[in-house]
């Protein structure tokens, strides 16, 4: 390597290192600002004022969904399995909404600690399986729908389960 090339290489590496350090500092100082939603525990801890628009994310607690008689209003708990927050919502729910499903609700925290949502989004997990595999996993007791972290079958292993 010629001295000029070596000099350019050094400058290049030093430049990239500075850039990486700067980006790292910016990201770590932004930290909390970049999250899309807060967990129920964080909502209870921070207790944001009712004027502040917040997003709360977690699982729809099993057995907590109550629909009003006219079907337009729904109430449920969002849980992170440590804390639950009661949420009320009036509007159309996404198709994936059900008990045990991950959801993100956007709205305002009421003085009584519940959240009045203006929008509810479904959050699906990173597991993709055909129906038959899910059914056989359930039958063998290896996985329950709505588990926070489904023990995903690794490719190649589920063939044994399906049979």
């Amino acid at each position: 390597m010629t001295p000029r090339k070596r000099r350019r290489l050094m400058i290049g590496i030093a430049g990239l290192a500075c850039l990486g350090a700067a980006a790292g500092l910016v990201l770590s100082s932004l930290g909390d600002q970049l999250v899309f939603f807060l967990s129920p525990t964080e909502i209870v801890e921070k207790a944001p004022p009712p004027t502040q628009r917040i997003r709360i994310g977690g699982l729809v607690e099993q057995g907590s969904v109550v629909r009003s008689d006219d079907g337009t209003t729904v109430a449920f708990n969002i849980t992170d399995l440590a804390t639950s927050v009661h949420v009320t919502y009036r509007g159309i729910l996404p198709a994936l909404f059900r008990e045990g499903q991950g959801v993100v609700a956007e709205g305002h925290r009421q003085p009584d600690g519940t959240v009045k949502a203006a929008e509810v989004l479904a959050k699906h997990d990173e597991t993709y399986m055909p129906k038959e595999v899910v059914e056989s996993l359930k039958a063998s007791g290896r996985w329950q729908e709505g588990d926070p972290l489904p023990s995903a079958p690794h490719p190649g292993t589920e063939a044994a389960v399906t049979r």
Binding site: L16, L19, L34, V35, K123, M129
Partner: protein, 243 residues
């Protein structure tokens, strides 16, 4: 060394000409197999039903958008440090390809988000960083066409490509570092893929098809760029002689 041998554009073009028919055929075959399998025969997902088929386009497009930018950044580094004559040609040729993949990932993601999440778009860390990636591609292409002289344009664009490269790990790890609406990685993760083999295989073949398309069109575009530069040099030579 292979790279030094290919520094001769004529030698590179001869190699590209020999490879291109095979690459093009392989691309068509992989696309045919991957899309037919994925869209026609792969099983529907237990939660998402047939909507999951969007994944066979969305995920490879997103991977290639990130691969394209990484390729561009490495080529730009090589161009700046070693002045390899093909490096800036390669980086320039990769940009519109990566931008196209990025746009496909954004659009298919939006089409997927509406039925599944209940929204076309949210400003979470993954979606926002992917949009930034698209703008970086567009900025890179704009910078190339804003400066007439190829040497100066290459330098400026290479620096932009390297600065923008910090966004690539942010796109990849955004779903792990912050809470996002987008779910975490399904395939490239420490504990192995969380996709059943019956869906993972057609996804892998589509990813191969997208990758082959990238390499094929990249070689074509590099050839076109080299020929374009040769024409430019000849025209300038004729103009100088006539003057």
């Amino acid at each position: 060394m292979m790279l030094t041998r290919l520094a001769n554009p004529t030698r590179f073009m001869r190699l590209a000409d020999r490879l291109l028919p095979w690459l093009a055929a392989a691309t068509v075959l992989a696309f045919a197999a991957g899309l037919v399998w994925g869209l026609g025969f792969a099983p529907p997902d237990y939660q998402q039903g047939d909507t999951v088929r969007i994944m066979f386009v969305h995920v490879p497009a997103a991977w290639l958008a990130m691969f394209g930018y990484s390729f561009m950044a490495v080529a730009s580094f090589v161009a700046l440090v070693w002045k390899h004559p093909l490096a800036d040609v390669a980086a320039k040729a990769a940009a519109p390809l990566g931008a196209g993949f990025c746009l496909i990932a954004l659009i298919t993601g939006s089409l997927w988000g509406e039925p599944m999440w209940g929204t076309w778009w949210v400003w979470d860390a993954r979606l926002t960083s992917m949009l930034v990636l698209f703008f970086l591609y567009v900025g890179y292409i704009a910078l190339w066409s804003a400066i007439d002289e190829p040497e100066r344009a290459a330098r400026a664009a290479a620096i932009l490509a390297l600065v923008g490269a910090v966004n690539v790990p942010i796109v990849k790890f955004s779903v792990d570092w912050w809470s996002t609406l987008h779910q975490p990685a399904s395939v490239i993760r420490m504990d192995g893929p969380t996709i059943d083999a019956s869906i993972l295989w057609p996804l892998a073949i589509n990813a191969l098809a997208f990758q082959l398309y990238f390499v094929t069109v990249l070689l074509w575009r590099m050839k076109a760029e080299l020929i374009g530069r040769r024409i430019r040099a000849l025209t300038l030579g004729i103009a100088a002689r006539e003057a």
